[in-house]
Symmetry: C2
Subunit: 406 residues, 2 copies
């Protein structure tokens, strides 16, 4: 069993870097604070006797040799960058749980056959630079190193320059690195485990997602003198689509999701009928066929609204990730470890994307979820219980040992 | 008849002060540009032989003596401040039409029995300082001079200090000034006249309005991992109320109006379920009983949505103006003048508030509307035809003469 106190202490130590007043963390990718966080974790890894390699996109691999180093490593990892109003656990837990596994193996002087690696991936959050899950995406070839290097933050600084500046543009070619199996522990970021009062979520798959930008263009006009029948109210037309996004998701339970998270109204004045409304649409499902059905139903609905209202409605898909089922052997490794350790458990499909979906393109992969308070993440009040984090780390230890063999 | 070319030339001259690239005007109340505009108009008034008085809230009265100066003046006026993206005609037309009436009387050496006054009221737009229609509001005692002086712009500058700075804090006590009758010419700010192809709108009344701020509080959560049934989506609940605002207005044709113009979503992120939505509601009707019915129906609907959704919904009325019927004698004066001059005409209820609604609390009042292009105002593309502006000014001349007597 791992040392829960040590894991908690490391989490709290790392959370000091970029700590916010409200108890959260702001440590955006490739900032000075990210460098400090990276240096701290790399220092701990060296203390634990791990060897470090860094690739050209700044992914860091911290390796503990096996008895047979010809075998590809059993890897675990996540990210240490955070949202602007992020928490202490999202990503950080996955990395430090991996480090705790290694420290425990050292304490118990356990030698594994395959090497063990702990990775942290660059810019998972995508808050400062898009696309999200950048490091793991480049690693698995989802997009090119050049694309990633060229990504700019709001100040026009590029990923390439910022990597260089903080000293994390490594020599290794991304992906030039075999993986035997990949596990990732993460807070659930949802309320399902807490609601069901379970400690460990076995993750069979990650939902696919489609992101859209929708723009409805009407005619701005004075709210008083313009008769109802002569209006082209972009907001009223938008509300119909916003409601349909949720209705579509509700037609495909239990894994349909539909969210409008971002809305901008122009000119956004109390006595002016909105002339233009821009909003985002987020559709998800764990079944790609159903996700596509949801997509089609939304487009058909928008076509109807367009012809009924006579307003201009533009809809553009800006991102698409297919659902990612995890490898049965890795899912079973997590399930077996949980059973052996006697934790209460249930299957939880991940609604959020993780670095593991890119790792899964290269190797058998699986994930372990632990509850987080009220299901909240991407928020400074994000919280998790030390005993749950310890349990998830124990499951990680045993799942990795099943694959790496003692 | 008035001189349409001179009126147009003055409008274009005044529009140079604060002219924007897109052909509009940005001349916010009590700025240096407002001072320049005021100085220009006051200069013209002096050239026309008018005497000037300024009151403590900066309202300017430009007076042409009558043959019996014991009679209260027949007044016309409007405002010369503009919206941040305002046009050349809103307000400015009403002031310069008044000046053109005086110039015409001078040209024709016509003496009126009652004096004639042309007023421009401070800060009608309310863009820089709230409340709107400030100068006429203080003048008629709707709120106090102290309240008005204390109003601050976004930089914390007060009306009192800014009036002093631009030299328009006059000595006269607001309202210490009898009015015999009040007329105001204005662009319609709506599409009704243009739609019906009429030149003059006789304005029987101004609609009453109720403004509200509504805040719906749910729970922000990640769009992926949060099942539909466990959401407290503040936007979805808000869209029901937004739609009802329009539905209520549609239940009370032809003068019911319902608009949601301003929306703010928190945290406004693509993959976060909105935790809070703030939006404005604008309800109008020319009948106060119906306006109150609309108000009650909205509150009842919100009560229902609150209990159905379980979300917190706060609704606060932030402004209320009762409908303002104009005085039959002034409405008839406008109607008679229009008939005499042979312009095509119809009655148009004003959907927008004007300084005339405050003047109407002190004296018989009436308004004259002329068409504006596509019904658009509060916009740099606001436009009106010289021949329509000329027609409105002719109607003003004859309506004022009917009341002031030759
Ligand atoms: N884990 C996480 O928050 N990923 C961001 C992308 C998503 O919305 O799923
Ligand atoms: N005339 C005008 O735009 N007044 C502003 C107040 C309103 O919305 O009616």
């Amino acid at each position: 069993k791992i040392n829960g106190d040590r894991l908690w202490a490391s989490l709290m130590e790392l959370a000091k870097i970029g700590a916010t007043e409200k108890g959260g963390v702001k440590r955006l990718a490739l900032t000075d604070l990210d460098k400090q966080g990276r240096d701290l974790v790399v220092g701990w890894a060296k203390d634990a006797g791990l060897s470090i390699t860094i690739d050209q996109i700044g992914n860091v691999f911290m390796r503990r040799d096996g008895t047979n180093n010809a075998l590809p490593p059993v890897m675990t990892g996540s990210h240490i960058d955070t949202q602007p109003t992020g928490g202490k656990f999202d990503g950080n837990y996955g990395v430090l749980a991996g480090l705790e596994v290694v420290r425990t193996l050292n304490d118990l002087q356990i030698k594994t056959e395959a090497p063990i690696e702990v990775a942290f991936w660059t810019n998972e959050e995508g808050s400062r630079f898009v696309p999200v899950m950048m490091g793991s995406g480049v690693f698995c070839g989802a997009f090119s190193l050049e694309t990633a290097y060229a990504a700019k933050d709001v100040d026009g600084k590029t990923v390439g320059d910022e990597l260089e500046r903080i000293g994390y543009k490594g020599p290794q070619v991304p992906g030039d690195h075999p993986i035997g199996a990949y596990f990732e522990t993460h807070i659930e970021q949802g309320p399902v485990l807490e609601d069901a009062d379970k400690v460990i979520g076995v993750v069979p798959a990650v939902m696919g997602l489609s992101w859209y930008d929708c723009v409805v263009t009407g005619m701005e006009a004075h709210a008083g003198p313009t008769p109802m029948g002569l209006r082209k109210d972009a907001l009223q037309v938008s509300t119909r689509i916003m409601q349909e996004v949720v209705a579509i998701a509700n037609r495909y339970p239990p894994y349909g999701r539909g969210t409008v998270g971002m809305v901008q109204v122009f000119p956004n004045s109390r006595n002016v009928i909105p002339g233009e409304v821009k909003f985002s649409i987020d559709l998800r499902n764990v079944n790609d066929e159903l996700l596509n059905t949801m997509h089609e139903e939304m487009l058909a609905f928008i076509d109807n609204v367009r012809s009924e209202s006579g307003l201009k409605i533009e809809i553009e898909r800006v991102s698409y990730y297919p659902p990612c089922p995890f490898h049965p052997e890795c899912v079973d490794a997590v399930r077996n470890a949980t059973a052996k350790l006697g934790y209460s458990t249930m299957d939880v499909v991940s609604g959020a994307g993780h670095d593991a979906i890119y790792a899964a393109r290269l190797a058998p992969a699986g994930m372990i979820f632990v509850p987080c308070k009220d299901g909240i993440s991407h928020n400074e009040i994000e919280d998790a219980k030390a005993e749950h984090l310890e349990a998830g780390c124990n499951v990680l230890l045993h799942a990795m040992l099943e694959r790496a063999r003692i």
